[in-house]
Structures are given as structure tokens and as C-alpha cells.
């Protein structure tokens, strides 16, 4: 957990004052909507179908229990008692009033939470792996670097009016849980042959209308040079990114149009001219940031505590433990994922009550720390194994122990047409119906790891392109239709899914997904072959045949 100091808090408070003044000038008419829109977006305030939506930043997905309680309070006081966790580790409130926003922001600022740059053509939340700092085999905690980049990109005077939004993600593990290959800049933290920490830098990834997998621009940039190198990329983008067409304004288009070699040369040229820059990170500066991350005082605990041995007799507990509990780098501890995907529920939502209970459980069992994953689930990152049975009971009581992590009902979905003014079709009811169809846990376990991603429009906030099964809502003659892709992946082997056939109407989507799953079960060469690997082995055709045979 990073401890904000007086400087960080002052900045957040100054930002709140500025926004309070801007809202006042908007409500008085001194600022037109045209002038105000970009300002409110820079504080995460969207206008949606029914209301304003307020997107609050959760930097690299890390929250303290105190912060989570304050989010619950905001949900209760300023909204309708719930919030939605997003695919970029942020939280959204859907019913906020503009006139009350400065007060909500002020209350959040008291606990070091802000909404800076969660929208707008600037640099967004620098996301990371929700298991950062606790995953076995991690090179080092990537959140140190996320924080360094967060500070550097916050209210950056040169890069606050980019051609379009800019998203950075960092991973420090072999298995990429941060989806760096579909980000504008993806950073893979690793050590070079001399054991020095640095980054593979990838650029130009992204989803939406023109999806691209990011390309490596430089295989190794030393840690001390990462800020100056990122600055060089941003300067090239700020100057040459397209501004004439919002659909062609992301850096992925610039990289594609120039080609990676030419783009790389432009960046290298700019970087060289920057010379020995004020941005070169002294070792002491990195260590200063690192020193303000606090880590738990782990106890020396046995690998297999008695409490766990006893609880193993309970099949429900065991099912949950095998599904939702992952190994921790410290013996005797575990990483626990809390499913926000209950059967029949809207994926990724949590009520204020649930947030409060999770905050209490974090205090009791996880050293007061919670993480938010881009799969829209929560994580308690430091749970002693001996506490798992008690934790499970408590989670089960508030509906956060559905043992479906990474299974077919662990669906990632954007808010869709129920909330979002950009949407063409609804996504949440599709997700809800799918969780009902596959509600049986034995079935879900038998199917195995299967990521379904649903987006209500081509902006792809549900990341449908990289879903094992991707569902994209479109509009045809005023009706909701859905295009379905299979075989996408968001990890280190990232690739886009392939269309299986013509779009299907709303009422048939769940049937089609069932057919796809049935096809997979029939076609897999052994139970352990994952859906996504069966698709890779056999291609789309066999699935297409089965799904469209009777349609």
C-alpha cells in the first residue's frame, strides 16, 4: 500500500478546489458545456443515459479498507447504494449529481482517493496485475513503477490534451494478468542479463473499432530511463497523432500508419535529443517511492494449518478453496479472489453493504488491503491459510463466495445500453442469463477456464476482442443483435477472436453460447484442454458448423 504524503494530499485537494470552481462556473453559465465537458471528463464525469456517471480512480487496483469504506459511503450518500468495478481497475457510480460532485470528491480526497484523469484525452489509470507484490515468481512489485508513472502522468502540463486517451499497463510476471498487449503502452518488467531491472516496452495495442496487438518498440529500457523514454513516446504521439478523426486518433493508428520501425526511430531520435534528462530516475528516488509502499509483517506460518485440514471435509468450502484461492509467495498465506459475479447478478457490481463487509474482512484477514482486478472481481491479497474457512463463511453470507473465478460464469461485461449512452445494445442481461444457464457448478468446473467478454458497442469496454468467447452488441433495424467471436486471449499470447458467423438476435445469444460450449465439450481431445486451446487447434469451422447447423 502506498502511503500518500502531504504533497500528494495537497495536490488532490487543490484539484478538488479547482473542480469545485469549475462546477460553479458551469452551473452559473460562465462556462458553456463545450468548454466544461473536457474539464469534467478530466475528473471522470461522464454524461450517460439516465444520469452522470462518476469514475473514481483506484491506482493500480490497490485500496485500503478505509478507502473502501469511503467508497461505500459515497455510494450510499451520493448514489443509489452500489458501485461498479471496471476493466481498468477503477470504480464507477452511475447516478451521481453534478452539483454534489465537489462534495463527493472532497470526501474521497480525505482518504487519498481522486478521480483525476479517469476520462478525457489524457493519461489514464496506470493499471497492473491485481496480484502484484504477492504473486509467486514475480520479478519485483510492479506497483512501485505504476506509482512513479502515476505521479509523472498526473496533471502533466504537456500531455493533458492528447489526440485521444492513453492507457498504460505494467506486468512483472511471466503470465500477464494485466493485458499489457492491448494497451497504448505495455511495460513488461524484467531483469536483463546483468540482473538490472528494466522494461520491455510495447506500444500501439488497443481494442475498439480497430483492434491491434501492441508491438515491441524496445526490448529493454533500464528502470532509470523509463520516464524519459515514455516521455519521448508521448511527445511523438502528442505532435503526430491524428486530430482530424476521433476514430483514428489513438497511438495504435499512428504506429500502424508509420510502421513500428519508423515510429521507433522517431521515438529514439526524440529520446536522444532529450539527453541526460531531468527525468532520469536516480536509484534513491525509486527507493524513496518503494519505501512508502508498506508490506505486511507476515507471520511464520505452516504450509498446511490444522484449520484447513479440518475444513477440507466440507465439500462447499473445498470447492471454493480450489477455485478462488491462489498460492501466495509467502508460505502459509494465500491470495483470495472475491467473485462479483453471482448467478443472476450484474457482473462487477458491489453494494455499499458488501463493500463495508469486505473492508472489515480485509482488516481482519488481509492486513487492511484489497485489490481490484480488471476481470471485475475483488481480491484479498494477504490471507493466512488458517483463516480461509472463517473468511469463506463470512463471504458466503454476503454473496461474494461464488466459486466461479475464471469459469464460464465469471463474465466480464461493460455496462451496456442499460447505462451507457455510447451503447448499441444491452450487455448486462445477456451476462445474467448466461450465469443462469451455467449456474450448475459441476458443469462450470467440467467446462474449465473460459472467459466470456461482452461489449455493448464497438468501443469494446468489455474487451470482447480478447475474450475466449467474445460477444459484441450491434444494432440492426432498431433491434439488438450480437456478433460472437471465439479464440481471443488477453495474456502474453494475446490475440483477437475470430467471428463464428452472422450476428444473432438478443433472444438467441444464450442458446448460441450453450451450443458453442457443447461443441467444445465434444471436440476437446481431453478434459484438460482449455476451450481456447481447442479453438486454436481446430479453428473456427467446427464451431461454426454446430452453431449454425440449425439456424
Amino acid at each position: 500500500m502506498y502511503a500518500y504524503d502531504e504533497l500528494d494530499r495537497t495536490l488532490i485537494n487543490e484539484r478538488v478546489s479547482e473542480f469545485r470552481d469549475q462546477v460553479k462556473r458551469r452551473l452559473s453559465g460562465e462556462l458553456t458545456e463545450d468548454e466544461f465537458k473536457m474539464l469534467r471528463l478530466q475528473n471522470g464525469v461522464y454524461l450517460q443515459l439516465h444520469a452522470y456517471m462518476f469514475r473514481v480512480a483506484i491506482p493500480y487496483g490497490t485500496l485500503s479498507s478505509k478507502q473502501l469504506r469511503r467508497l461505500a459511503h459515497v455510494a450510499r450518500r451520493y448514489d443509489r447504494g452500489y458501485g461498479h468495478f471496471t476493466t481498468r481497475q477503477n470504480i464507477q457510480f452511475n447516478w451521481i449529481k453534478l452539483a454534489e460532485l465537489p462534495d463527493a470528491l472532497a470526501e474521497l480526497a480525505e482518504v487519498g482517493i481522486h478521480a483525476m484523469q479517469t476520462s478525457g484525452n489524457n493519461m489514464r489509470n496506470v493499471t497492473s496485475d491485481q496480484w502484484a507484490g504477492v504473486a509467486p515468481g514475480e520479478v519485483e512489485d510492479p506497483r512501485i513503477w505504476s506509482e512513479i508513472l502515476r505521479q509523472h502522468t498526473t496533471l502533466h502540463p504537456e500531455f493533458s490534451f492528447l489526440p485521444r486517451k492513453f492507457k498504460i499497463a505494467i506486468t512483472a510476471s511471466e503470465h500477464d494478468r494485466a493485458a499489457i498487449k492491448v494497451h497504448d503502452i505495455g511495460l513488461r518488467l524484467h531483469k536483463n542479463a546483468d540482473g538490472e531491472t528494466g522494461f520491455e516496452v510495447l506500444v500501439g495495442g488497443g481494442l475498439g473499432r480497430t483492434p491491434f496487438i501492441a508491438k515491441t518498440i524496445k526490448p529493454y529500457v533500464a528502470g532509470r530511463d523509463i520516464l524519459s523514454y515514455v516521455e519521448a513516446i508521448l511527445r511523438v504521439y502528442n505532435q503526430y497523432g491524428r486530430r482530424d478523426n476521433i476514430y483514428k486518433a489513438r497511438i495504435k493508428i499512428l504506429v500502424h500508419e508509420l510502421g513500428i520501425e519508423k515510429f521507433s526511430r522517431e521515438v529514439e531520435e526524440e529520446w536522444k535529443q532529450m539527453g541526460h534528462s531531468a527525468l532520469t530516475l536516480d536509484h534513491s528516488v525509486v527507493e524513496e517511492v518503494r519505501s512508502r509502499f508498506s508490506y505486511p509483517a507476515y507471520e511464520k506460518l505452516p504450509h498446511m494449518p490444522d484449520e484447513l485440514k479440518q475444513a477440507a471435509h466440507d465439500p462447499s468450502f473445498e470447492r471454493w478453496r480450489k477455485n478462488s484461492v491462489a498460492p501466495h509467495k509467502v508460505q502459509g498465506y494465500s491470495i483470495v479472489t472475491l467473485s462479483l459475479k453471482p448467478v443472476g447478478g450484474p457482473p462487477g457490481d458491489a453494494t455499499a453493504e458488501q463493500m463495508d463487509v469486505v473492508a472489515d474482512l480485509a482488516d481482519k484477514y488481509s492486513f487492511g488491503e484489497i485489490r481490484v482486478g480488471h476481470e471485475q472481481n475483488l481480491v484479498l491479497p494477504h490471507v493466512a491459510k488458517r483463516d480461509l474457512p472463517q473468511l469463506w463463511k463470512a463471504l458466503d453470507r454476503i454473496g461474494l463466495a461464488t466459486p466461479n473465478i475464471n469459469l464460464v460464469t465469471d463474465i466480464i461485461a461493460c455496462p451496456g445500453l442499460d447505462y451507457c449512452s455510447l451503447a448499441n445494445a444491452r450487455s448486462i442481461p445477456i451476462a445474467q442469463e448466461l450465469t443462469r444457464r451455467f449456474a450448475n457448478h459441476d458443469t462450470a468446473e467440467m467446462i474449465g477456464r473460459l472467459h466470456i467478454n461482452i461489449s455493448g458497442c464497438i468501443n469494446a469496454c468489455g474487451h470482447h476482442h480478447v475474450g475466449h468467447i467474445g460477444i459484441l452488441g450491434v444494432e440492426k433495424n432498431g433491434e439488438e443483435f450480437y456478433q460472437i467471436t471465439i479464440g481471443g486471449r488477453a495474456d502474453e499470447n494475446a490475440q483477437m477472436g475470430a467471428l463464428i458467423g452472422p450476428a444473432v438476435p438478443y433472444a438467441e445469444v444464450a442458446d448460441v453460447i450453450e451450443d458453442i460450449v457443447e461443441a467444445y465439450l465434444a471436440l476437446r481431445d481431453r478434459p484438460e484442454e482449455l476451450f481456447v486451446d481447442t479453438v486454436k487447434r481446430l479453428g473456427v469451422e467446427p464451431f461454426k458448423e454446430r452453431v449454425y447447423a440449425t439456424r
Partner: protein
């Protein structure tokens, strides 16, 4: 349109020369880049000060050779959302060492004053009178800055390091 310099509204000593108009014999002028580059030496010979208006979609390379003889460079924000001039401003100040007047023109609004100042602008053709009046107060909105620019302000990271050193030095 009020001109703000050194935190307050001042008389603009420069005259914008319109396309096609003759250059006045004396006095300070701001002329568009294309016009200037037709015959820069001739323009620079005049007795009055010369400033160039540089478009935001053109590299600075052709301007750089003349920087030490220009009294002003005006950069352009065609829309306040178009941030290219911020990069140009920083490059002019920090890479090319330009220390004459650097003016923000176009859609220059209150809520960009801090960014513009930090990027090196020191003169502002402000769109709204109310914004011009509020300039001095607006640039005081922030006291903490994360990024180093040419404005000489100490960044938060450096302030922390200084604090650490003085703490350990005091021991």
C-alpha cells in the same frame, strides 16, 4: 482580446499583421510563419521587434535558426483541446533555449493557464475578459507539481528527497 503578461492585463505592444497587409515601418509586429519565411532576413532588418506566429501542425526546425533574433513567438491552440502547442512550447524553451516572449493564442481559457505557464508561455491572448482578470489567482491554484519542466519549480519527488537529506543531515 486582453493580453496577460506577468500576471495581469497589459497593453499589447505587438501588432498582428494580417495576410496581404504591408509590414508597418516600425513598431513590434507578429507575422505568420509562411510570410516570415518568404524572406526572413528582410523582415529581421526592420527597426521594430519581430515576432512569428507558428502553426501547431508544423515542426519547429525552420524556426529554430531565427530564435535568437525574435522578440516573440506566438503558438496556437485552435481549440483548447488541441495540445500540440504545449510540446512546441517546451521544446522552444527547454531544448532550444528560447528566452523571448512566448505567447499563447487561439482558444486560451482559464483552466489551461497553469499548464501553459508550466510549459513556458509567459504571454496569453485570453479569450474571455473574466478569465484574464482571474489570471493571477488561477496560476496559484496548484502548489504541488509532479513533473519537471523548464519553469524551475521543484517537483514533489525532489522536495521529498531534499526533505530526506535535510532530515538525515540534521541527525
Amino acid at each position: 482580446m486582453p493580453l496577460v503578461k506577468q500576471g495581469r492585463i497589459t497593453t499589447d505592444l505587438f501588432v498582428h499583421v494580417i495576410d496581404g497587409a504591408e509590414l508597418p515601418d516600425d513598431g513590434a509586429i507578429l507575422i505568420p510563419a509562411t510570410r516570415f519565411l518568404e524572406d526572413p532576413e528582410a523582415v529581421l532588418k526592420r527597426t521594430g521587434k519581430v515576432g512569428v506566429i507558428w502553426p501547431n501542425n508544423r515542426d519547429l526546425d525552420d524556426l529554430v535558426p531565427y530564435l535568437d533574433r525574435l522578440a516573440a513567438v506566438a503558438l496556437v491552440f485552435p481549440s483548447f483541446r488541441d495540445g500540440r502547442a504545449y510540446s512546441q512550447a517546451r521544446l522552444l524553451r527547454e531544448r532550444h533555449g528560447y528566452d523571448g516572449e512566448m505567447r499563447a493564442t487561439g482558444q486560451v481559457l482559464r483552466d489551461q493557464f497553469v499548464f501553459m505557464s508550466r510549459a513556458g508561455f509567459d504571454a496569453f491572448e485570453v479569450k474571455k475578459d473574466a478569465d484574464a482578470d482571474a489570471f493571477a489567482e488561477t496560476v496559484k491554484r496548484y502548489s504541488v507539481f509532479y513533473q519537471p519542466t523548464g519553469d524551475g519549480r521543484v517537483t514533489a519527488l525532489n522536495r521529498r528527497m531534499q526533505l530526506r537529506h535535510s532530515e538525515s543531515a540534521g541527525q
